[in-house]
C-alpha cells in the first residue's frame, strides 16, 4: 500500500544505462531526445530500441527546447514531501517542436495563467540529493 517515502529525495530521477546521457545533457543545459535512424522518428522517453520499428540504431538529438502546453493541471493537494510544501504547482504535458511529448512543471508565471496551446521554452531546475549529486530537471517557462 502507498506509504510515506523514507528518504527526502525519493522523487529525484535514478539514472540508468538508458537514461544517463539524457540526465548528463540536462546538467549541461541541453534537452536530449532520442531519434531512430531507421524510421527517422523522434521518441520520448528514451529507450535503447525505437518503439515504432524496434530498430536499435538510435541516436541522441538536442531538442530546440521549444514547444507548447498540450494539457496541464494545477495541483492543489499532495500529501507527499516535498510537494506538500510546493502547492499550488503546475504539471503539464509539453509537445516539443520535434513532435514528442514529455511531462514537466511549468514555472515562471502564475498557475492561473497557464493555458493549453501556450508557447513554452525549456529551462533547468537544479535539485540536490547531496552536495555532489545534483540533478537538473527540464522544466518549461512561457516564451518571450
Amino acid at each position: 500500500m502507498p506509504q510515506m517515502p523514507k528518504i527526502a529525495t525519493w522523487h529525484l530521477p535514478v539514472p540508468d544505462v538508458e537514461s544517463a546521457t539524457y540526465w548528463q545533457g540536462a546538467r549541461e543545459g541541453k534537452l536530449l531526445i532520442k531519434h531512430c535512424n531507421a524510421c527517422e522518428r523522434h521518441f520520448f522517453y528514451p529507450r535503447a530500441a525505437c518503439p515504432f520499428c524496434w530498430s536499435v540504431d538510435t541516436s541522441w538529438r538536442e531538442s530546440s527546447g521549444r514547444g507548447n502546453v498540450y494539457t496541464f493541471t494545477v495541483v492543489h493537494q499532495n500529501d507527499l514531501p516535498p510537494f506538500r510544501d510546493r502547492v499550488p504547482y503546475v504539471i503539464a504535458v509539453i509537445e516539443l517542436e520535434e513532435g514528442v511529448r514529455m511531462t514537466a512543471n511549468v514555472e515562471g508565471c502564475s498557475p492561473d495563467d497557464v493555458r493549453c496551446g501556450m508557447r513554452v521554452r525549456v529551462a533547468f531546475r537544479d535539485e540536490a540529493r547531496s552536495e555532489d549529486d545534483v540533478v537538473s530537471l527540464p522544466v518549461f517557462r512561457p516564451e518571450g
Binding site: 500500500m1 535514478v14 540508468d16 494539457t71 496541464f72 507527499l80 504539471i91 496551446g117 535539485e127 540533478v135
Partner: protein
C-alpha cells in the same frame, strides 16, 4: 455466466483486515451461487501485496487449479471476468472466484498509508516523479484537454457527481446519501484543477466477490443466471506522455469489441455501470463506449440522464463517487450490474432491466475492460 455475487461489509470497517473482508465476500458469493468452498477451482485476484494470489489462496484455504493475478488497476475485474469465461470454456476450471478487498480508508486513518502514491523515480517513472504527479492530476489533465477542445464545463462534470449522489440516496448501504447540487461540487475545494473534491471518488474499506460457472452448471443453481454476452479488454499508456489523445479512453476499443461480440448496440442497454474514479472518467467513458459522440459528453450528462429515472441509469448503487471505493473498484460494477439484471436491486431497481453494460477503467485511463451482460 455469473452465478454468485456479494459485497463484504464496506464503508468504515475499522475492525477487520483486508484478507478477512476477502473471505467474508467470498463465502457470501459462493453461498449465493448455491455452491461450497471446495467447488472453487479458479482464483482471480490482485492486490497491493507481492504474490497476492498466493497469499489470498492460502488465507482462504483453497488450492485452485487455475490462477490469474493480472494487475492493470481498477479494471482488473473486467479483465478477470473476460479471462474466466475463456478458462471455463476451455475446461481449465469450473468455478471461478473473483475476490477483492482493502481497508484503504481505515489504513489512512491509522496513518499506515499515505493519501497520494509515491511512485519511485526509476525506469520510465524517472521522467514524471520529480514533477509531483498525482493520480488525481493525471485524470485532471484529461479534463483540462476535454474542456479546451470541446468547451466542456466544470458544471457539466459536476452534473455527474450530483446524479451519482441521487442514485446513492436510494441505496441504504451507500456511504454518502445526502443529495448535493452542482454548486456544492463547484464550491468544494480544488484538488487538482479543474477537479474539485466532489469530482473525486470517496475512499472506503470493503470487498466483494463474484462467482462464474459454465452455462451447463448454471442451469442447476438457485439464482437467476446472468449471462456474459460480450467481454473485451484494451490497454493504452502507463506514462502520461505516451497517451496519444487525452480525450479518448481505451474503452473505445474494448467497448467496440464487447458490443460486437454480444451483437448489441449502446441504445439497447437498460442499465450501465462504469468506473467513476472521477467525474471525467465517466464522461470520457460514455463517449468512448458510443453512448454519445466524442466531445458531446458534457451536454449528454445534463438533465439527469444518468439517474434511476433517466434514460440511461448509470452507477445505480451510487458508484465510487458516493457508495464505496476501496481502490480498484471494478468488481463492484459487475456486482451491481448482476443485481439489477436479477431484479434484486431493492429500492433502486431499474424496471425490466435485461441488458447491462459494464466498463472498468484502470490506472489513469490506462486500461479498460468492457462487459455486456444479459438476463433471460
Amino acid at each position: 455466466m455469473i452465478a454468485g455475487i456479494a459485497e463484504s461489509r464496506f464503508g468504515d470497517v475499522p475492525d477487520a483486515t483486508a484478507l478477512e473482508l476477502h473471505q467474508e465476500a467470498a463465502a457470501l458469493a459462493v453461498a449465493d451461487a448455491g455452491l461450497a468452498k471446495d467447488d472453487v477451482d479458479g482464483l482471480f485476484s490482485c492486490g497491493a501485496d507481492l504474490l497476492h494470489p498466493l497469499l489470498l489462496a492460502e488465507y482462504l484455504g483453497i488450492r485452485p487449479r487455475y490462477v490469474d493475478g493480472t494487475q492493470v488497476g481498477g479494471s482488473a475485474w473486467e479483465f478477470f471476468l473476460h479471462h474466466a469465461v475463456g478458462a471455463i470454456e476451455s475446461g481449465l476450471c469450473d468455478v471461478a472466484l473473483l475476490n477483492y478487498a482493502t481497508t484503504s480508508r481505515s489504513d489512512l486513518k491509522r496513518k499506515v498509508r499515505s493519501a497520494n502514491v509515491a511512485i519511485e523515480a526509476r525506469g520510465p517513472a524517472q521522467f514524471e516523479s520529480a514533477y509531483g504527479h498525482t493520480v488525481i492530476g493525471r485524470h485532471a489533465m484529461a479534463a483540462t484537454r476535454h474542456m479546451h477542445e470541446f468547451g466542456t464545463t466544470s458544471a457539466q462534470l459536476a452534473e455527474i457527481a450530483v446524479q451519482m449522489r441521487a442514485n446513492a440516496s436510494r441505496n441504504p448501504l451507500a456511504m454518502y446519501r445526502d443529495p448535493i447540487t452542482v454548486d456544492d461540487v463547484l464550491s468544494s475545494r480544488l484538488i487538482s484543477s479543474p477537479l474539485h473534491k466532489l469530482d473525486c471518488c470517496i475512499r472506503s474499506d470493503g470487498g466483494g466477490a463474484v462467482v462464474i460457472v459454465s452455462e451447463e452448471r448454471a442451469r442447476d443453481l438457485p439464482k437467476k443466471p446472468v449471462w456474459v454476452l460480450g467481454a473485451a479488454e484494451a490497454i493504452s499508456h502507463h506514462t502520461m506522455s505516451e497517451w496519444h489523445d487525452f480525450t479518448e479512453s481505451p474503452a473505445k476499443y474494448s467497448a467496440e469489441r464487447a458490443f460486437a461480440m454480444a451483437g448489441v448496440k449502446p441504445d439497447e442497454i437498460d442499465v450501465l455501470q462504469v468506473y467513476d474514479s472521477f467525474t471525467i472518467t465517466v464522461l470520457l467513458t460514455l463517449e468512448a463506449m458510443g453512448f454519445c459522440a466524442k466531445g458531446e459528453g458534457g451536454a449528454f450528462v445534463e438533465g439527469g440522464r444518468l439517474t434511476l429515472d433517466g434514460s440511461l441509469p448509470t452507477n445505480t448503487d451510487g458508484g465510487g463517487l458516493s457508495s464505496n471505493h476501496p481502490g480498484m473498484r471494478g468488481l463492484f460494477l459487475i456486482i451491481e450490474a448482476a443485481r439489477q439484471l436479477r431484479g434484486e436491486a431493492e429500492g433502486r431497481q431499474v424496471k425490466d432491466a435485461t441488458l447491462a453494460a459494464v466498463n472498468g477503467t484502470g490506472g489513469w485511463f490506462s486500461s479498460t475492460g468492457t462487459l455486456i451482460l444479459g438476463a433471460d
